[in-house]
C-alpha cells in the first residue's frame, strides 16, 4: 500500500522504516530536513520537506493516491488538522493521528477520527507492570 507519514521524529522514522522494509511505498514529510537523519540508511521511500497542514505539500507527497495517512508530529493540533485535511479533503481511506492530550483524543475519536493517545496507552502499560 501507499503510505504518507507526516512527522519524521522517532516514531515516524521508525514506522517509515518498518513499512518500507515490508515493501510498502512510503513518503515521509517533515518541516525540517535534518529530521530525515533518523530514517534507516537503506530506506527506499521518499523523504520530502514540507508542512503537512498545507494542502499543496500533501499533494506533492502524493496524498491523492495514498491508501494511508499517519500524522505523527509533536503538535497535537497540527496532527488533528492534517488528519482532517487527509480525511475530508483528500478522502484518504485510512487516516490515523497521534494526540497526546487524552481529552482531545477522546473528542476527536467521537468525531470519527482514528486517534491514538500514547499518553493513555503508556500510562496504562506502566500501571499494569507496576501492579502485576
Amino acid at each position: 500500500m501507499k503510505v504518507v507519514i507526516m512527522g519524521c521524529g522517532r516514531v515516524g522514522a521508525r514506522l517509515a522504516g518498518l513499512l518500507d522494509a515490508d515493501g510498502h511505498s512510503v513518503t515521509v514529510l517533515d518541516t525540517n530536513s535534518y529530521s530525515f537523519r533518523r530514517l534507516p540508511p537503506d530506506f527506499q521511500g521518499t523523504a520530502l520537506v514540507g508542512n503537512g497542514i498545507d494542502e499543496e505539500a500533501l499533494r506533492r507527497a502524493g496524498i491523492e493516491e495514498a491508501d494511508v495517512f499517519v500524522a505523527l508530529t509533536q503538535g497535537d493540533n497540527r496532527n488533528v488538522m492534517a488528519a482532517q485535511i487527509a480525511k475530508h479533503i483528500f478522502n484518504v481511506p485510512r487516516v490515523i493521528c497521534r494526540i497526546y492530550d487524552p481529552l482531545r483524543q477522546e473528542m476527536y475519536s467521537t468525531l470519527g477520527l482514528e486517534a491514538i493517545s500514547p499518553t493513555t496507552i503508556f500510562a496504562q502499560i506502566l500501571k499494569e507492570k507496576l501492579e502485576s
Binding site: 493540533n77 488533528v80 482532517q84 485535511i85 479533503i89 481529552l103
Partner: protein
Amino acid sequence: MYIIVVGGGRIGYYLIKALMDEGHDVLLVEKEAAICEAITDELGSICIRGDGCETATLAEIGTDRADMLIAVTGDDEDNLVACQVAKHKFKVSRTIARIRNPKNEALFKKLGVDVTVSGTNVILEHIEEEVPTHPLTHLLAIEDSGLEIVEVRIPLEAPTVGKAVRQLSLPKGSKLALVIRKEGKNRVPTLNTIIRAEDRIIALTTPESEEALRAALRG
C-alpha cells in the same frame, strides 16, 4: 454577551479592548505568563493563563455559557482546534477563527468553524483596491450567502464603452448596483444606462461568476 478570546497577541489584545468597550463580558486565554500579567495589569482580571485548546481550561472558564469563542493565535491549527473543542464539547453557537493561510477558509468551514477571518486576504484586498489598473476589486464578501460586492473599472478603450447595460451579457446572478462617474451623477444603473469610459461599476456577484462579469463589463 459572554465572549471568549483565545490568543493574547496583538490582535487578541486590541480585540478584547474593543469588545470590552462595547460592554461585553470577555475572557482572554493566553499561554504565556508574561503576556497574561501585562494584560491583567492594564485591563484587570480578564485574562486566564492556559491552553485554549484544552478541554480542562475551557471547562474551567465556563465555555458552555459562552455566546462566542474567537481564536486569534498565530497558528491556524491552534485556532481550528480551539473552535472545534468549543463547538463540539461546549456547544458554543458561534466560533470565529483567524487564519493565516487563506486556503484554509474552505477547510475550516467544512470542519464546523462558523466564521474565518484571513488577515492576509484583508491586506491583499486593500492593496488591490489601491492598484488603479486592477480590473476587478473585491470590496466585501457577504457572509453565509456566497455573494460578494466587487468593483469593476471600465478602461478608456473598452469595447463595452457606449453600449447599454441591456447589450452586455452579464452572467446569471450578477447584478449591477451602482455606477460611479468622474463627471456627472452617480447612478443606479438600469437596462438603458450607457457604459462610459472610466466608469467604476459596483456589482453584486458570486466568486464563480466573477470572471464572466469582468469579461462582460470590460470586453
